[in-house]
């Protein structure tokens, strides 16, 4: 898990603070600095056949489900061989073969989609689950409500994970909702609701494990409010001046990577040396992927006209980077 945490941090740092500033990434840049533990602690326990619908800050979910760094960087950089062929940006990467459905920018829209996925999973009866992430600001959207109610009524195997990072763009939680803990929403729909320390990857892991257990057992959906903090601006151009410095300082202490590192070191599971090795591997992997992406071709203009429809002229088989459909799930 430390690997994925550090990989996420380093890769997003490269995106937000290097590539974006170099003009190699154009358009919006959203990262999950400070909240990496949620995606890691959740996605890592999914098995083949499960489906994840990450938010715009859940980088690790993609890697854990088998997207390669090359694919991811190619997409960020709008290359022809990225999983969207340059059509869509950021982490809008999907592949049903690897069980990943990406967000659209319209917040909350993936929640009903997760319900539909879960309806299909339930019918198949193989105990598979859908896991959908969204920000605390997103909970104000009607679609989240319709989906949570729907999942509860139909007892669907969906795990709703709210990445509560205290801000929605510039909007603090007290302007977003009027309860102390969003976790209470679970009970309002008739599903378990729990508040979780979103910076503690092990806490996330066990809360999600319990929710998955219920879902696989046919006992319906759960709602988890994972508390964390967005340790950066809303997007790369946002200086987050509206966030009190104090809060950044406070949450810096609780950094999920530091937290896990200290645990692993004190329990002697890992050594500092081993951690440095991991870091080096990661840097190397990122360097390679960035170099690959950077030397990958931009798409040809006329390909813009292809694929609005699925049909005989569908061009997706031309995409070179997509591996065979079996999902490559690495554990650590």
């Amino acid at each position: 898990m430390l690997y994925y945490l550090k990989l996420t941090r380093a890769a997003e740092e490269r995106i937000e603070r290097v590539l974006y500033r170099q003009g190699k990434i154009v358009g919006g840049v959203y990262v999950g600095r400070g909240q990496e533990a949620i995606a890691v602690g959740a996605a890592i326990q999914l098995v083949e056949g499960d489906v994840v619908l990450p938010s715009h800050r859940d980088f690790a979910a993609f890697v854990i489900r088998g997207f390669t760094l090359k694919e991811i960087f190619c997409n960020w950089m709008g290359r022809a061989n990225g999983p969207t062929r340059g059509r869509d940006n950021t982490l809008h990467l999907g592949d049903m073969g690897r069980g990943v459905i990406p967000i659209i920018s319209h917040l909350g829209d993936t929640c009903p989609v997760a319900c539909g996925v879960a309806m299909a999973l339930k019918q198949r009866g193989e105990g598979r689950v859908a896991l959908v992430h969204f920000g605390e600001g997103t909970t104000s959207r009607g679609d989240v409500h319709e989906a949570m109610n729907w999942a509860a009524v139909m007892k669907l195997p969906v795990i709703f994970i709210c990445n509560n990072n205290a801000y929605a763009y510039s909007t603090p939680t007290e302007k977003q909702y009027a309860v102390k803990d969003l976790a209470v929403r679970g009970a309002a729909y008739g599903m378990p609701g729990a508040k979780v320390d979103g910076n503690d990857v092990l806490a996330v892991y066990s809360a999600v494990a319990e929710a998955i257990r219920l879902a696989r057992a046919g006992r319906g959906p759960s709602f988890l409010e994972c508390r964390t903090f967005r340790m950066t601006g809303h997007s790369a151009h946002d200086m987050a001046e509206y966030v009190p410095d104090k809060l950044f300082a406070e949450w810096q202490e609780k950094d999920p990577i530091g937290l896990l590192e200290r645990k692993l070191l004190s329990s002697r599971i890992l050594t500092r040396e081993r951690i440095h090795e991991i870091e080096k591997t990661i840097e190397k992997e990122i360097d390679d992927a960035v170099a690959f992406a950077d030397s990958s071709p931009m798409p040809e203009g006329p390909t813009a006209l292809e694929d609005a429809y699925c049909g005989p002229k569908c061009g997706w088989e031309k995409t070179s980077l997509v591996p065979s459909p079996s999902s490559v799930v690495r554990n650590n």
């Binding site: 059509r87 989609v113 539909g116 309806m119 569908c314």
Partner: protein, 324 residues
């Protein structure tokens, strides 16, 4: 060939597809035990079970969103809007989620959204709308609007088998008023192909949905006056059949465009642009529109009647154009 109502044709088309393909399932409000507000799904719960005929909460956005999710998983959901008017509540999921997935990352989203649309039954502003143009203007969707029982069945089957999101507009005025021959054997009507509903040589009248019947009635009237009107029933609005439209224009050199939908930004505009761009030389007169005016659909019968195009209004416009 059995004669069948428009409604029964839809129902039979869905039924057969459900039998043929276990990945087809239905979701919507009151479609199960109740069989749907207009009884299109009557008997399906009993036949196919609660796993495939799913009553949902009143959540149009979730209905569409869930259909997308299921479609991504390889299912073929057929979602009912109790009235097509309520599609506005699921609008975002249709135009942003369903319509764009294939273009963005290549996954198939085979789903159908169907339901009763159109006016003529005194339903008032919220049970009478013709909302097809929002979707005709959204790349990634397909839009079909059957006018006959034959097409209703053939198009619902084609829609269910299509690998893209298809909006299927049923006209509630036709449900039990229209009856025609429907073959017993399996058939589909290809999406994107228009139909010459009546051949003619003096003037082309292009329309779709319930207005096909007004057009045919007007054509009858004009035939008695010695004017030969060709009626083109578009059947599909997105994609629409440019070839058939243009061939008819080349033949008659005069065009009248008709729809029940309101005027500004309606389908007639799209057709006018196509024709004025590609068949300018073929035109012997202005391109004339007969449409509903730019207001909501009013409730009270005299208002609704005034609002809707009908055979008289069409005949009058056609007469003028023929004389041009």
């Amino acid at each position: 060939m059995p004669v069948m109502t428009y409604l029964d044709a839809i129902r039979q088309g869905i039924w057969e597809e459900m039998e043929r393909d276990p990945s087809v399932f239905l979701l919507g409000e009151d479609i199960g035990a109740y069989g749907g507000a207009f009884k299109v799904t009557a008997g399906m719960l009993e036949k196919f079970g609660a796993e495939r005929v799913i009553d949902t909460p009143i959540s149009e956005s979730a209905i569409v969103g869930a259909a997308v999710g299921a479609a991504l998983m390889g299912m073929r959901p057929v979602a009912e809007m109790q009235f097509m008017d309520f599609i506005s509540c699921g609008f975002d999921q249709i135009v942003n989620m369903a319509a764009k997935i294939h273009y963005r990352w290549g996954a198939k989203v085979p789903l159908v959204i169907r339901g009763p649309a159109g006016a003529g039954v005194h339903g008032g502003p919220f049970h009478s709308q013709s909302n097809e143009m929002w979707f005709v203007h959204t790349p990634g969707l397909k839009v079909v609007v059957p006018a006959t029982a034959y097409d209703a069945k053939g198009l619902i089957k084609a829609a269910i088998r299509d690998d893209n999101p298809v909006l299927y507009f049923e006209h509630k005025f036709l449900y039990r008023r229209i009856k025609d021959d429907v073959p017993e054997e399996d058939y589909t009507v290809a999406i994107g192909q228009a139909r010459i509903a009546r051949e003619g040589s003096d003037l082309t009248l292009i329309t779709y949905g319930a207005m096909v019947w007004a057009a045919l009635e007007a054509a009858d009237t004009l035939a008695k006056e010695g004017v030969s009107v060709e009626v083109v029933d578009l059947r599909s609005l997105l994609p629409y059949d440019e070839q058939t439209v243009l061939a008819s224009v080349r033949k008659t050199n005069k065009v009248l465009l008709l729809h029940e939908d309101t005027r500004t930004g309606g389908m007639a505009g799209e057709l006018a642009a196509l024709i004025a761009e590609t068949s300018f030389e073929d035109l012997d007169g202005p391109i004339v529109r007969v449409t509903a005016p730019d207001t909501p659909v009013p409730f009270s019968p005299p208002l609704e009647e005034y609002f809707l195009p009908n055979a008289q209004k069409v005949a009058e416009a056609a007469r003028k154009l023929a004389a041009y």
